[in-house]
């Protein structure tokens, strides 16, 4: 993956300063958000339904622009980036959704390899990496299966593999345990923890408090559009 230009490694990976967000003429969903996320950390993002978790993740994924305030990611003010630079920055961010969002007509292998295919890499270059990653997430024998034939847990592990195959520096997960049973939820969080230990910064949004209690990671709590960080 191409390195981001002008990145200042000594700075925070993410820095929000007085960020506000509203949709159209509606009320402000996120208010005065100011926080920093250091590289290599793991944060839970939590809060009641409708508190703005998904909106915050969309800001972090660069698919929304804040109504006010400043967002700095990878050392750059995102409001100053043109479309090409935003696209380049987005390639350093992985995303995992609650509803998996795998493409049903592609095999598990092809789904996971998609980010590399989009980057124009030939399959011969990435095949062994994809196979290795799928084996690591426990899908070594399901590479040629299509998503409709996978269980919920298998789909989510495939989605996670797809999110990290291009080695993103930041991994966002929006309720990744929402469609799996509690036991599997815990195993999935362990998988995220493994990725975090390999250096990936992780922000995992969930409203499952029992799950949060099992892990000792800082929590970003959204409530009424404002955020509080509990270490």
């Amino acid at each position: 993956m191409m390195p981001l230009p002008l990145i200042r490694r000594e700075s925070a990976l993410i820095e929000f300063t007085d960020v506000g967000l509203r949709y159209g003429e509606g009320p402000e969903i996120l208010k005065d958000l100011s926080f920093r996320v250091e590289p290599g950390t793991f944060h839970f993002l939590t809060g009641p339904s409708g508190s703005g978790k998904t909106s915050l993740l969309r800001l972090l994924l660069l698919s929304l622009k804040p109504t006010r305030g400043r967002i700095t990611m990878f050392g750059q003010d995102v409001s100053r980036l043109d479309r090409d630079r935003l696209l380049q920055m987005r390639r350093h961010i992985g995303i995992v959704f609650q509803e998996f969002r795998l493409l049903d007509h592609l095999t598990t292998f092809e789904n996971v390899a998609l980010p590399l295919r989009v980057l124009g890499q030939p399959e011969a270059d990435y095949r062994s990496n994809v196979e290795e990653l799928l084996t690591w997430v426990g899908l070594g024998t399901r590479m040629d299966a299509h998503p409709p034939l996978l269980s919920g847990g298998e789909k989510q592990r495939a989605a996670i593999a797809r999110a990290v195959i291009a080695r993103p520096e930041l991994l966002l997960a929006d309720e990744p345990t929402g469609n799996v049973d509690p036991d599997l939820s815990e195993r999935l969080v362990h998988l995220f923890a493994e990725l975090n230990r390999s250096g990936t910064t992780i922000i995992l949004a969930t409203h499952e408090l029992p799950l949060l209690d099992k892990f000792d990671y800082p929590r970003m709590v959204l409530n009424g559009g404002r955020v509080a960080i509990h270490d």
Partner: protein
């Protein structure tokens, strides 16, 4: 088995699946549009070729008409007119039509079995020009003033009318062709929009994993290019087959008189190699037009949603 799986993985499935594009309907539509375009183009080519041939044929001939004048001897006037014509530069030959030929000419109006010796009818001298451009028609007209009752018909008015009619048909055909092209473009735009709406999930996923709009547009464009090519080939081949069947029907099925009449209008009803090349050239044009239209529509759609 492992090798087989490995080989299969070498050929990654298309990101935009073939079945997700409204392919069959669009394929049929493009095939029909190509067929209509090709038939229109072929018709225009036939009319234009025939008009040029008619005009050239008529232009190589002028007619001297000699009306009966009291006190004048018709046969003598005919001989004089023929001599004057033959002496004119650019004239290949001149020949007076016989009474029998005259009778055949006026048979449609006056019926058969007519005795022309009892009626004074104008006589005609057919003058073939060796080179219409160099023939001194003005001199011939001047010389014929010496023959009482003689007048010269260069068929200029008829040729003018013929050219006007052929031009009108060609312009109308090109207008129809343009309308078909516009209708095809609109159909492709609607089909592309429908496809993009029904494939929104694929577009979103590609966006999330960092695909550029250009990459996404390229994936969809490939599908539409393939549909455009297939539709173009089907429509073009059907059009060529159509002209072949109509040409054979005119030659074999139509009654002799009707066939001859159609032959007069459209020659042998054959497109010729240039007509076939013209129709074949439409196929890549239709395919490219489909691909470009879909690409622009996809880019616009992606710009709107991003």
């Amino acid at each position: 088995m492992i090798e087989l799986l490995s080989r299969r993985r070498n050929r990654a499935a298309p990101i935009v699946p073939a079945r997700s594009v409204a392919g069959r309907t669009l394929l049929l539509l493009i095939a029909i549009m190509t067929f209509l375009s090709a038939v229109t183009l072929g018709g225009v080519v036939l009319v234009q070729k025939s008009a040029i041939a008619w005009s050239a044929d008529v232009g190589r001939e002028v007619t001297i008409q000699i009306r009966p004048v009291e006190g004048e001897v018709m046969d003598s006037n005919l001989r004089t007119a023929v001599s004057l014509a033959e002496a004119t530069p650019g004239v290949a030959s001149a020949r007076a039509l016989s009474l029998d030929e005259n009778r055949k000419l006026i048979e449609p109006w006056l019926g058969t079995g007519l005795d022309l010796s009892a009626i004074d009818v104008p006589r005609l001298v057919v003058v073939e020009l060796s080179d219409p451009a160099d023939a001194d028609i003005a001199k011939l007209a001047e010389d014929l003033k010496a023959v009482k009752g003689a007048s010269l018909d260069t068929h200029a008015a008829w040729r003018q009318q013929l050219n006007t009619m052929a031009g009108t048909i060609v312009v109308s055909g090109l207008l129809v062709l343009a309308l078909i092209v516009v209708a095809t473009v609109l159909a492709v735009i609607f089909a592309t929009r429908g496809t993009m709406a029904s494939n929104r999930e694929i577009v979103d996923v590609l966006h999330f994993i960092g695909a550029s709009n250009s990459f996404i547009a390229g994936e969809f464009q490939g599908r539409f290019l393939a549909i455009g090519l297939r539709g173009g080939v089907i429509g073009g081949l059907c059009a060529i087959l159509f002209f072949f069947i109509v040409g054979a029907a005119v030659g074999n099925v139509a009654p002799e008189a009707a066939g001859a009449q159609l032959g007069v209008f459209f020659g042998r009803f054959a497109l010729g190699i240039d007509g076939i090349i013209g129709i074949a050239a439409m196929i890549p044009v239709i395919a490219a037009m489909t691909a470009i239209t879909s690409r622009l529509t996809v880019r616009r759609f992606l710009t709107q949603i991003s």
